[in-house]
Amino acid sequence: MAFRASNVIPQTAYQTVKAAAVQLRLNVQAMVAHLAATNATYDYLRGVYQTLKRANDQFTSLRSTPGLADYAMAQEDDPTYDVAAEFVGMQNTIASALAWMEANVPLSVTLRPLSEWNDGGSLVATSFTPAQTAQLRTHLNEVVASVA
């Protein structure tokens, strides 16, 4: 039997999960502020989606690391802290935000004549008002709240 050097150990996995959660919260907080303050372009919403999905995919890939839950519980040293439940809760908030976007942000593409473009010859930006993204902000705030 060879020495197992290539598998992810709980310490590395937990450090990565924590770092990814902090990075996610940092960015989502800015996204909420942006969506509340101004119209958001379609490309911006796509960036929001990609940010959530990148984090969620990494959480999913690491959550099956053997010994992760036990290691995390030992590190937090808090008998009242259910790390596994909080982890699932965090991923659920992300999944809710992703689901809302999949259901409410249109993905279809239409054809528009060049004459409908603005005078500057630039592409007419698709934008979503703060009112239109209010529910999304609610979901994103839940993501922020799930990370302490």
């Binding site: 990075q23 960015n27 101004t38 911006y44 960036g47 473009w117 592409l123």
Partner: protein, 240 residues
């Protein structure tokens, strides 16, 4: 949370006919962190681009057959190993990949500047003015050493990250560094070598998350096909 250095790794291949170079980080990067790469190819005659799948170019220089580039990518957590490919030529490469946290996950890039010379001991690319602050400046200096050995200095005001390549004659050499900034004052960098050499200096700025996001405007002219098609795609916009 200010932008923070997380990890880096360097690579160098002692062969003058490489068509790419791979860099393997010690640990998988964290999702939504920023990865920045500086690649330099000695005797890279004919190289027109340095690319990696999913990475964006910040700056590219080629002078006297020496190619160098800075690229970046928002990590999805899978880029433990990245291979950078050379288009149109080959050479002797060195590369450094650095991971940073605390930067914008949607549109982190905030401008770049670069300069190269076939023979110089000091170069300063144009200043870059941040569109927002705070942010992080990545300064990279690289050279193709001639018949006399050379060393590179860490740019003044920057924190050393990593060195790649060799300081002896006829080798590529890279030295990367970074600094954070708190306001939108123009950012500069000066790269210096211990003597005249084929030198390149790159400066790239990256934003921290901000509510003041402005997506770049697409130019209609670049989207109109040569055939004169008068209809262009536009994403529909309506919420239920």
């Amino acid at each position: 949370m200010a932008a923070t250095y997380v990890q880096d790794q360097e690579a160098y291949v002692s062969s003058a006919s490489e068509t790419g170079i791979s860099v393997t980080l010690d640990a998988a990067p964290t999702a939504n962190n920023l990865l920045v790469a500086h690649v330099h190819v000695r005797s890279g005659d004919g190289i027109s681009a340095i690319t990696a799948s999913g990475w964006s170019g910040a700056s590219f220089e080629i002078v006297s057959g020496e190619a160098s580039a800075v690229l970046y990518k928002v990590s999805d957590g899978t880029e433990t190993t990245t291979t950078f490919s050379f288009t149109g030529g080959n050479g002797e490469p060195a590369a450094i990949v650095t991971e940073f946290s605390g930067l914008d996950s949607i549109a982190p890039f905030d401008g770049a500047s670069s300069v190269a010379s076939g023979s110089a001991s000091s170069l300063t690319p144009s200043d870059v003015t941040p569109s927002s602050a705070p942010g992080l400046a990545h300064g990279g200096v690289s050279c193709s050493i001639g018949s006399s050995s050379r060393t590179l200095d860490t740019p003044a005001g920057y924190t050393f990250i990593e060195s790649a390549g060799l300081t002896s004659a006829y080798n590529p050499l890279i030295r990367t560094a970074y600094k954070t900034y708190a306001d939108t004052t123009a950012v500069s960098v000066t790269g210096t070598a211990s003597g005249a050499t084929e030198l390149a200096v790159h400066l790239a700025l990256f934003k921290e998350p901000t509510a003041g996001y402005t997506h770049p405007t697409l130019s209609a002219a670049t989207l109109v096909p040569a055939g004169g098609n008068t209809y262009q795609p536009r994403v529909s916009y309506s919420f239920p």
